[in-house]
Subunit: 329 residues, 4 copies
Amino acid sequence: MKAAVLRKMQDLVIEEVPEPSSTPPGHVKVAVKAVGICGSDVHYYKEGAIGSFVVREPMILGHEVGGIIEEIGEGVDLPVGAVVALEPGIPCGKCQHCRTGEYNLCPEVRFFATPPVDGVMTGYVVHPAEYTFLADGLTPEEASLAEPMSVGVYACREASIHLGQRVAVLGAGPIGILTAMAAYAEGAIVSLFDVRKKRVEFACSLGFSAWPFRQGPDLKYDRVIDCSGNRDAIQWGQSVVRPGGKLILVGMGAKGSMLIDGLDLASRGISVQGIFRYSNTFPAAIELIRRHRGKLAAFTEKRIPLDELPTYLASNEYLGYIKTIVTVD
Amino acid sequence: MKAAVLRKMQDLVIEEVPEPSSTPPGHVKVAVKAVGICGSDVHYYKEGAIGSFVVREPMILGHEVGGIIEEIGEGVDLPVGAVVALEPGIPCGKCQHCRTGEYNLCPEVRFFATPPVDGVMTGYVVHPAEYTFLADGLTPEEASLAEPMSVGVYACREASIHLGQRVAVLGAGPIGILTAMAAYAEGAIVSLFDVRKKRVEFACSLGFSAWPFRQGPDLKYDRVIDCSGNRDAIQWGQSVVRPGGKLILVGMGAKGSMLIDGLDLASRGISVQGIFRYSNTFPAAIELIRRHRGKLAAFTEKRIPLDELPTYLASNEYLGYIKTIVTVD
Amino acid sequence: MKAAVLRKMQDLVIEEVPEPSSTPPGHVKVAVKAVGICGSDVHYYKEGAIGSFVVREPMILGHEVGGIIEEIGEGVDLPVGAVVALEPGIPCGKCQHCRTGEYNLCPEVRFFATPPVDGVMTGYVVHPAEYTFLADGLTPEEASLAEPMSVGVYACREASIHLGQRVAVLGAGPIGILTAMAAYAEGAIVSLFDVRKKRVEFACSLGFSAWPFRQGPDLKYDRVIDCSGNRDAIQWGQSVVRPGGKLILVGMGAKGSMLIDGLDLASRGISVQGIFRYSNTFPAAIELIRRHRGKLAAFTEKRIPLDELPTYLASNEYLGYIKTIVTVD
Amino acid sequence: MKAAVLRKMQDLVIEEVPEPSSTPPGHVKVAVKAVGICGSDVHYYKEGAIGSFVVREPMILGHEVGGIIEEIGEGVDLPVGAVVALEPGIPCGKCQHCRTGEYNLCPEVRFFATPPVDGVMTGYVVHPAEYTFLADGLTPEEASLAEPMSVGVYACREASIHLGQRVAVLGAGPIGILTAMAAYAEGAIVSLFDVRKKRVEFACSLGFSAWPFRQGPDLKYDRVIDCSGNRDAIQWGQSVVRPGGKLILVGMGAKGSMLIDGLDLASRGISVQGIFRYSNTFPAAIELIRRHRGKLAAFTEKRIPLDELPTYLASNEYLGYIKTIVTVD
């Protein structure tokens, strides 16, 4: 089968790799159909590393995957032929984090396309049944959105969002918009902010109340969720959190140190919470995608065949789209 | 009656003020017996201000108060003659913060010895019954500790401390030690840290596991509670929080901006929580003082009469004690 | 002004009562426009009592109110002419329940149309500003739904409903349907159950997955919310809660004792939670009504003028409607 | 090695069973030294079953175990010779309950001395390292208390006990007393109740405020934790929960159906929570045993050698002790 193998920084090739030869008990073999391109794939491609994760040997890219069950191992009760989404991280199931339900923090987790673990931009993948989720009624392209949607679902859960709360989401890229959808689906009144006019317009076209950064109505928010990783955004975000509210930092964008006003945190009773990946989110993410199929159409619109990925990534063209999905035959 | 009136920065006098003439319905008149000197009293004395709170007209100092009920207003069911602790902040009871139980964030709160509200270093104070707490079995000096103990109780509650968790408390001054007691009383395994050798020794003498700053066993903590306000301490504190853990910032010590490693927060799923004062803590604080009477003896050892307060504050002598209590006849 | 005064059991008259003569500081005078008839109004009318609340002297009925601000007292920052919903219970603001944010449990609460406190089926009512909520964009009839919607909002909040959870609501009367809307708005996958075919059909017509009692798909629910007060329903409800899930009992319907399988609770780690009224729900309820204006049209369809209320209640005709709203000129 | 094998109801023998032949990777081989007798052991012995768990083939009894590490498997970082406590239930690590941290509800859990899984009243047991907990500074007898203490720790955690809350524990048997210790260690003000005078006296001798059932001060409790399984106790327990409080049902004692006043639950906003076993409690339980070594001496006082267990259980003598521990050479 073909695979998109990142040999080293800026050296991506489509090459033949061996197809999985068997499906062990408790596992499924999934025919990959659609893989979303994530910012992390682009980082590995362009820079060969994210923080301490360095590409030292060839690695298959991709971790946002929708596919179809091809074969099931012994003891698995999932239907062959079903559309599924795969949770990309397999935790150890034994450490203290796993035992307390925060398996996203498992130090032994094996996560697709995080060195040295291969990703899923290839023909088939064998995966544990318990991290394989039925996506009835969705296309594989839509199912591939369950992974980025999980980021939003988890951020909103950690943020303890309740019905009627005011939530600001900073950054209207894919994660920002999916997070805004999750916040809305938890009952929040959501505003999106971005420095890029085009993104603000796109968010508005989806029905969101979206604003250029630092503009919008003069009010405080119960929760501010940063999906931009931008220090100015985060600093402004803190200033618009209401007393007793929360500032949530999603993802790895927030590089290195930044200035936080500690006196403001203490004198207004505010907390800043970092979010790493997600746990126990896929069923909720899939449900959310079902609810928002119409709005999410734009997310699955731009598709390129696996063979064209190297050229596409080299071209920078992908930056023009909210989301590009790699299709596999 | 006499009162310790701060006329302006570094101008503290003991002068006659009018005794409260009546006790309205729902209120009690309390004969003040003991008032702990808090860092904030010293700040107002020395600098005339804390942040945006500025002493613009003469103000009586003191907010850590133990006394005896002298008279009760109509409808009050509290026994005359009882030792009580007074919660120093009276919230509006109507705003959104008050209605959701986080009345410490009430913007209309009237708080003893926070300009322009008078404090309690005087003979009598009239106070709402619902913010007056029986301290059966305690002396007024011990009752006066309910206020600083409340800071620790609230910090631990917000930190969601559970039985068996590892907690580091940074700063072994009065608030640090009382917070450590509260954490221990919630079942935590507590370590205290301070840069000052004398404070470490004092903490050890109380039975705590205490260490010079940055030393101690090489482990991570479920919760790190900063009571030092020191930037270096906070930065080190973040580094010893376990993945998924919490860093708690207590009090106004943390002046202005400080560097927080945002990537570390996000990649380890950590949160930083600011704590402002407290709410709903006095009964718990009083119970805790009852449990630790022996250990708390050192906190009520150093006493000076109200008349001597101006000389005492001018002398810097108070810095040698864990706590000094002003006594009122 | 006219008022619907319940003199005693089954003796309801429309009579003149004095209009409020002034609007004190911190209060608003509201022209009542629409008052929903609640099951409790009917209980007081038919039986003269609910549990320990007995109608001993004439009392104005009604507590689900939408109106228009007529006049504001000193210090109030609300616009005259605005459509508002009134929260019907005014707590003391001082007791332990009030101070911890669970003011629905305040023993001193004064609640519209709960003896001996008058309700709002009359021309004008003077109300504290902090329990008066702007309902911009809603009609007074829609605003009157904020009260019953609050029951659903609070039940869902206490039930800790999260995105993607499966929730069963037992009873498809007004409270059941509004609770189902609230659960959906918190992201739940909701099923409604009722013994009456007509109610099941109505729920289906609103787009809900609704089933005759004990039927529907064979699965377990994360949360079961009983709005029926029926013992059989509650017993069945417990049997379809998943291990670790919650059974929620809403309202006063659940009369007296009932059999609970305690061994089942303990061996499956289930909890049963009683819900009394609500606190801090009105802004969320109003937002929810805004989101569901279309679906809620059926709730505000049946209206009768205040003058006709006595005849209407005597006729039993109201039982044919999901909700009847009394209109006041 | 010898083992206490329950062949069938009331037929317990000490017989030779094969010693484990190897210690697989990730496992430890533990020399059993002390095994507490639990009510469930006695139930299986006397009745051959607990609920749906029926002894159908010979089974070794015992699940409260303290021992010494004899050998470690590959990849295990625990010191040979150390005193340890073993968590008796090994969950699957994969199901939804396991992934969300509530592994006590795992339907695939294998739990010592729960048919058909063998217990630990024998010479050696091989156990996964992650469910083996160092009990430094404790004797094996003390370490064997970590299991019943875990029941109390978990009940208190689920009950959300905070500093200063009033807690009533119903039933002053071993679980009741250990639960009371856990509640105290979380900062609660605890009262114990029992119908048996001797148990009340024993609880008092440990320093608890203990009372004959239905007696004691006339007050309401924030939390009532039933460890008696007695219907009268539970009913009284509900009546002394404060509005908004919780009634907790611990363990399998609560046989079958019981009457709960549903109207009372709803009108006072009370919840009833069932507790099944525990999860993530052992480190906390061990810490708690360390804190209370003195008080717990009475729990480890009565010891009998493994060989004498059949005679002892047949004699009913064990009922005279708070706890009997089987010792193994």
